[in-house]
Amino acid sequence: MKAFLAALLFAAIAAVGVSILLNAIQEPSSVAFTTGGARVGDPGHNLVGPNG
């Protein structure tokens, strides 16, 4: 039983940890699909919401 519970706990922690890590390296399209020189000012948030 202990092994099973430890397994569930480890899986949950690993999943949450990975989600934090991956969201930190997530690239929005406003950065990925624009060249450096074009990035002046606000990329705009219409259509994609405040976090896009």
């Binding site: 990975v18 989600s19 950065v31 699909f33 990035r39 219409n46 259509l47 919401g49």
Partner: protein, 198 residues
């Protein structure tokens, strides 16, 4: 009832990108989302050709067919739209779309790619016509005001046509007859399962 279609007369397109600019401006499309784009084939070589491409609003849309949450719908005009409230950002519609119309705000597919965005034929979305919520989620709704998509309206050479499929097919046929040549309606076979004999 009119069945809305796009037609890009590839013999007239001069790659000016007015259609792209018009769309970007009308809907305040953020950076990195490309609802409409101009693709140039054989650039710089003899036989160079440019075609303006966005969502073709296909008959039997493949994006709608593969969506795991069924967030797409087709209006009575034949315009293919979707609900961003239901979209889970899985990316399947991009794999199915022959024209690469779906756009996503995020690059990585961990969790979600964000809500899919695409050309709406200037017909907004499921929210109330002309409302602020509709504009913020889907952009301007010109069709509800009785206007046609701005990309076609702004086309400098009138190569991009948008509107009732029968009427624009007729316009294209007349052009082909008058000038004696025409490369056909690009994308029509894939999107609408029909060709315009030229």
């Amino acid at each position: 009832m009119a069945r809305m279609k796009f037609l890009c007369d590839a013999d007239r397109c001069i790659e000016c990108n007015a259609c792209v600019t018009a769309c970007k401006n009308e809907h305040e499309v953020p950076w990195g989302i490309n609802r409409r784009r101009v693709v140039t084939i054989n650039d710089g070589k003899p036989g160079e050709r440019s075609v303006s491409m966005a969502c073709m609003h296909c008959t039997d849309a493949p994006c709608a067919a593969v969506c795991p949450v069924n967030c797409f719908y087709t209006t009575a005009d034949g315009v293919v739209l979707h609900s961003k409230d239901l979209c889970i950002g899985c990316g399947y519609c991009f794999y199915a779309c022959p024209f690469g119309a779906p756009q996503y705000p995020k690059v990585g597919n961990f969790g979600s790619r964000g809500k899919m965005d695409k050309c709406t034929f200037c017909a907004g979305g499921p929210e109330a016509d002309g409302s602020q919520e509709e504009y913020e989620k889907y952009g301007a709704n010109r069709l509800a005001e009785g206007k046609l998509p701005l990309c076609a309206e702004m086309c400098s050479t009138k190569s991009l046509l948008a509107g009732d499929g029968e009427i624009i097919a007729q316009i294209y046929k007349e052009r082909v007859m008058k000038r004696g040549y025409g490369s056909g309606a690009w994308g029509w076979k894939t999107a609408y399962r029909e060709t315009i004999e030229s």
